[in-house]
């Protein structure tokens, strides 16, 4: 986007550019939300649609933490499971209705995120593996027979009392909107700016007065909230589930790959990545998961070696090349040619 490039280079944007940016932001929130709201008229498989929306939210959550801070959470599923079980505990023990339970699921995940704040002291692979260990530990606690009175242990959670396929569907649409708003707001907000500064150079950012720890913690808790809400609404829509299902590390895997495939650090990339790959999964992955996993693995290797920006980088590169050919292109005439 040329106008963003102009803004980032420190020149004052004209009011036309500001309005255009606002229109783009609004569209990036509204288009996916409206499309998902209308999707039920095209596809009557509501559980499939809810699953896609859940993965859109999870991919955006990974986007928030990985795209903005560089922390890759292999254990992201921990928040998802915390959300699902938070919703179960809210319904079974607090007598909450389904919408309240979904919100409380998000709160439960944020609480887990607060407990895990010390993990942010670790970096790179250490953080990735430690977050995985934390998620597995949480799963092992929740499914322990000793806590049967709270979570029903390994015997599974039952939410059939509040089941409502329409209700969970519309709640999922609202959560997708929330996720989109979060990412757009994060990109435009002061916090987003701070996080980008930290990512670019942690020491310089901290010297310039950025509270590195606070900024990271903000992104961490926001991404925990998104995963918790996704987990809760997923629990509501399937209504009967076991710890192994909501703490399945495949969920982290999917969320990370969807986000990387679409392009982390962008607003729409993770949405496109999640929708495209989940449909592929639904077409071949349910019956032949190993072939899907093979495609998945190859996609990750290709992204890592050749396409670190995901689909979004591909689209942006194509646009720049097109723009350069037409002779338009405020998009860095030099930078445009070595995007490849």
């Amino acid at each position: 986007m040329p106008n963003v490039a102009a803004g980032a280079s420190g020149q004052r944007a004209t009011s036309a550019q500001i309005w255009r940016r606002r229109a783009i932001d609004l569209a990036s929130v509204l288009v996916p939300t409206v499309l998902f709201a209308l999707a039920r008229t095209v596809d009557s498989n509501l559980l499939l649609l809810v699953s896609i929306m859940v993965y859109v939210v999870l991919a955006q959550g990974v986007n928030v933490i990985y795209g903005f801070t560089g922390y890759l959470p292999f254990g992201y599923v921990g928040f998802f499971g915390a959300g699902a079980y938070g919703a179960y505990v809210a319904v079974a023990h607090l007598g909450a209705n389904a919408v309240e339970a979904t919100a409380l699921g998000g709160v439960a995940a944020v609480l887990v995120g607060v407990v895990l704040i010390p993990l942010l002291r670790l970096r790179g692979a250490y953080f990735a593996i430690a977050s995985l260990a934390a998620a597995l530990a949480l799963s092992s606690i929740v499914s322990n027979p000793a806590v049967t009175s709270v979570t029903n242990g390994p015997y599974g959670a039952d939410l059939t009392r509040v089941f409502s396929s329409g209700g969970s569907y519309w709640t999922a649409v609202v959560i997708v909107a929330l996720a989109m708003v979060s990412v757009v707001a994060l990109r435009r907000s002061r916090l987003g700016l701070l996080l980008r500064a930290v990512r670019a150079d942690q020491v310089s950012a901290s010297c310039a007065g950025v509270n590195v720890v606070a900024a990271r913690t903000g992104a961490w808790l926001l991404s925990a909230l998104l995963a918790g809400l996704a987990g809760a609404v997923y629990a509501w829509s399937i209504s009967v589930f076991y710890p192994t299902a909501v703490f399945d590390t495949t969920i982290s895997l999917f969320a990370i790959v969807f986000a990387l495939f679409g392009g982390v650090g962008t607003v729409l990339g993770p949405v496109v990545g999640a929708v495209v790959l989940y449909y592929v999964y639904n077409a071949i992955g349910v019956n032949d998961p190993q072939y899907f996993q093979l495609i998945f693995g190859v996609v990750i290797v290709i992204i890592a070696l050749f396409l670190p920006g995901g689909l979004a980088a591909l689209a942006l590169g194509a646009r720049r090349r097109l723009g350069a050919r037409r002779g338009l292109g405020g998009a860095q005439p030099v930078g445009g040619s070595d995007v490849r």
């Binding site: 790179g124 692979a125 990735a128 092992s140």
Partner: protein, 291 residues
């Protein structure tokens, strides 16, 4: 029960240490996080399984078969990825994502080739029978695993501390730039270390099919987590540390299983988190000690 847990913890701990050696070497030398380490272990297990069931050989023969194959694959693969790693701003993160993909590919291929079912080797010279140690009865494979792990680790130490290539490897561990300046062929040394790391993983796989009660394609992720825990506990890039980390891990696991079986599953993760947060350089790694 104390004696049983103690001996079993030591024997299995030595195996864990051996299983983590390759990960430690790859991380220490190349700064490459091989998330596919556990999946290479799984491939080693399948090699032992096939040799035993198809060719009716002693499964331990899989170790000398696996080593040259793994070294060659490792050399070739490292040459393939080195340019991308060299170009990257953050090679550690890139390797994390790259090997994450590789681990998915290996798991998928293993599933296509061997189905998702658990395969076990209960017959044959290692699988059945038991031995008496100090009045306690242990399954045969525990001392066998330890008897392979200890010389294996000693060989790696011999290589690192008594050979010229090992000297180059240790130089690379302490500083890549200095090693380059000293005229060390960094590319070749790195590729060889990666090959050795894969060979160690595959050899550990031959034992893993017994210690873990069989093999299935989805074991890889757990094995990687375990190996990573051992490496973190022991400190990076130091074979002695890996064995010591394995002992701590094995003992903790065996004692937990003897006294608190319900919560035993939590022990590896809790141990990993505790060490990472309290002493990230590992219990046995001095910060300055790279060699």
């Amino acid at each position: 029960m104390v004696l049983y847990a103690l001996i079993s913890g030591i024997l299995i701990g030595l195996f864990y240490g051996f299983a983590a050696l390759g990960l430690s070497l790859a991380f220490g030398v190349l700064r490459v996080v091989n998330i596919a380490h556990g999946d290479v272990i799984v491939l080693g297990s399948y090699l032992a399984y096939e040799l035993s069931t198809q060719a009716h050989l002693n499964p331990l023969i899989a170790i000398p078969v696996a080593i040259p194959v793994a070294v060659v694959i490792g050399l070739a693969f490292y040459r393939l990825i080195a340019p991308s790693l060299g170009r990257s701003k953050d090679p550690e993160m890139l390797s994390l994502i790259l090997f994450f993909g590789v681990s998915q590919v290996i798991e998928a291929l293993a599933t296509i080739g061997f189905t998702v079912n658990q395969d076990t080797l209960l017959t044959g010279p290692v699988g059945n029978g038991s031995v008496q140690i100090l009045g306690q009865t242990f399954p045969n494979y525990e001392p066998v695993a330890a008897a392979v792990a200890v010389p294996g680790a000693l060989l790696v130490m011999l290589y690192l501390y008594r050979s010229r290539l090992g000297l180059a490897t240790r130089a690379l561990m302490s500083s890549r730039a200095d090693a380059l300046l000293a005229g060390i062929d960094v590319g070749r040394t790195s590729a060889l270390s990666f090959g050795i790391a894969l060979a160690l993983a595959a050899s550990a796989g031959v034992l893993s099919i017994y210690v873990n009660g069989g093999v299935n394609p989805s074991q890889g992720a757990d094995l990687t987590t375990t190996a990573f825990a051992v490496v973190v506990i022991g400190g990076l890039g130091n074979p002695g540390g890996a064995l010591a980390g394995g002992l701590v891990f094995g003992l903790a696991e065996q004692f937990a299983q003897s006294y608190e079986p319900n919560w035993a599953g939590l022990v590896p993760y809790a141990l990993l988190l505790a060490v990472m947060l309290a002493k990230p350089e590992g219990l046995f790694g001095r910060r300055a000690r790279y060699a």
